[in-house]
Symmetry: C2
Subunit: 343 residues, 2 copies
DNA sequence: CTGAAAGCGCTTACAG
DNA sequence: CTGAAAGCGCTTACAG
């Protein structure tokens, strides 16, 4: 069933059918419109999106590249993006790069070949893949992991402020040996969170002690290993800012193994918290990104086309739970914490 | 840059360019081939996937509908599907239904309109949406949550066997008050896991006690609430088969709140375990689906086209960790458990 | 082994 | 307000 069938049934031309379908593009008399609509119903016509894309030059499709969908953070991001995109009739092509730069490039090339209207790039390592897309004239938004010298438009979390807030909260609990478990040292995200941690300590008049500092992969295994190392011997921190949810979950596991009580012996606040932080043992106090806002701004930039280089920075919310030492579950009255937004 | 540009640069016809691109479709002399390849390089030609799709009638795209990507189980499944699809140059359109039947239907309609070559449907509730796709002549595979009277082809986990194995393992630890925390009672998946639990108890000569049985949503909150209910008062089980990873994580949280030691007071074995089970507190013994195999069989069915109704059943592996009472981390020597596959 | 051309199902100037 | 027709960039019989 094609537009030609509808046109025949309605006694009009295919042009009119098209104009009725894409209403607003040209005025159509109510009578004709009715006839066409009835004919569409009658013959059971469904528009062919591929033909439409070829003729119009727009696929209404965006490419999404994420490092690993099985990571709760990226999955939550992908879900928010899909929801936001669907509000505008946009659909996402899913690309999981498995943390491989080669695969990223392949994915971007595939997406370009498939004529996506834009690219959401949540990348690892150097962003060579982005060039492929921009060279093809595609609007690109680098989401979350922007490079220091990012040349594409980007939407990022306020890493410094988030880390500072979390660390301040730990200091507010009277902790003084406040360590940090950070991500890979070569990632801008990691360094920014390191800065936030340092800022809070400095502002609080507490000297930063590198014996309480570790750089580890952004994974549960990474957090677990670093946790065993950090808590297993030598001088031990009494609080820890952990730079990702996965690392924090690994750390909690390590603490349990070592018999370190959280929050009794060790207060913990993490970053990038999703639903998974809510029912960990103990539930994690975390800097929760506003996934909806990240998604909204990303899609908005792409819809506007050709976004200018520069970072849009999204605030986050400190979600207070048990791991920092706050009362949990919270009492009926509002707790005196910066935010108790539980979404 | 189009095939016409390449043809001009190579001094051939566009047909030859096409045949070179789709090698094997027709013999092309080595010399011509070389000329064309050079011309492609020269003008920087990239094939237009949309035009190809329109002319060939195939988009090399599959639609994927999942209930909620932020759920680790579905995200892991999606990741495996994407990896498998990409082996064949297939790309996935991502659809998150947010557990809504209405939205599912919309997604399937969108995917049909976009001329996907097949549909992977991980659905909730009644599968009306599937009819939309099959009516349009699309190959469909219902993945994981097949209905009892499923009319489409399906790929499912062996729920009865998995639940039985997990429950037997708990009995093997000498537990006798072995309860079950199951999913919604109206889901075939839940009922199958209930059957497996019953089977194991019967085979072990242990009477099933409904006071240790709960049906709850497949969520952390659901597992948490049911856990508080089950462990908070009255007769308390000394072991629990939990029907999903999310529920198990919620249960562990509830046990910790109530001061119930796992595995000391309560041995736990769950189902649908992903990476998240490995670093929970304590690490969860779980029936781990073979995600790669689920993905492989699903994509194979779709590639073959028009799959016949009927279920393909995939085995799972019992991954033994701490929550059941087994030694953890496992000693160097192999432990006497059914499987220690840690992937 | 190669070329000229129809056709995939739409959109959108161009003419009326 | 409407129609006839070109064109989007490919694939693939049809003819040679």
């Amino acid at each position: 069933m094609t537009q030609a069938d509808v046109a025949r049934a309605a006694g009009t031309s295919t042009a009119v059918v098209s104009y009725v379908l894409n209403e607003g593009s040209r005025p159509i008399s109510a009578a004709t419109r009715e006839k066409v609509l009835r004919a569409i119903e009658e013959v059971g016509y469904r528009p062919n999106g591929v033909a439409r894309a070829l003729a119009s030059g727009s696929t209404r499709t965006l490419g999404l590249v994420v490092p690993e969908l099985a990571n709760q953070f990226f999955a939550t991001l992908a879900q928010a993006l899909e929801a936001e995109a669907s509000r505008y009739g946009l659909v996402l092509l899913l690309g999981d790069s498995a943390e491989s730069v080669t695969r990223e490039r392949e994915l971007v090339e595939t997406f370009v070949a498939r004529q996506v209207d834009g690219l959401v790039y949540v990348g690892v390592g150097p962003h060579d893949a982005v060039q492929v897309a921009t060279a093809a004239g595609l609007p690109v938004v680098v989401l979350d992991r922007a490079a220091d010298d990012e040349r594409a438009a980007s939407v990022v979390i306020d890493n410094v402020a988030g880390a500072r807030t979390a660390t301040e909260h730990l200091l507010g609990h009277g902790r003084r040996r406040v360590g940090a478990l950070l991500g890979p040292a070569d990632l801008p995200t990691s360094r920014a969170r390191h800065t936030g941690w340092l800022d809070a300590l400095t502002a609080g008049g507490v000297p930063a002690d590198d014996r309480y500092l570790r750089w580890a992969p952004f994974t549960r295994a990474g957090g677990h290993r670093a946790g065993l190392d950090l808590l297993g011997s030598g001088p031990v921190p009494d609080a820890l800012f952990v730079a990702s949810e996965d690392q924090a979950l690994g750390l909690l596991c390590a603490a349990a193994e070592l018999g370190v009580a959280v929050p009794g012996d060790l207060a913990v606040a993490s970053f990038d918290g999703t639903e998974a932080s809510r029912f960990s043992v103990p539930p994690l106090t975390t800097v929760a990104p506003r996934f909806d806002e990240l998604a909204r701004r990303t899609i908005d930039l792409l819809r506007a086309g050709a976004p200018a280089p520069g970072a849009e920075i999204c605030a986050s919310d400190l979600v207070v739970r048990a791991s920092c030492g706050c009362p949990w579950p919270p009492p009926a009255a509002p707790v005196p914490a910066p935010s108790t937004d539980e979404r």
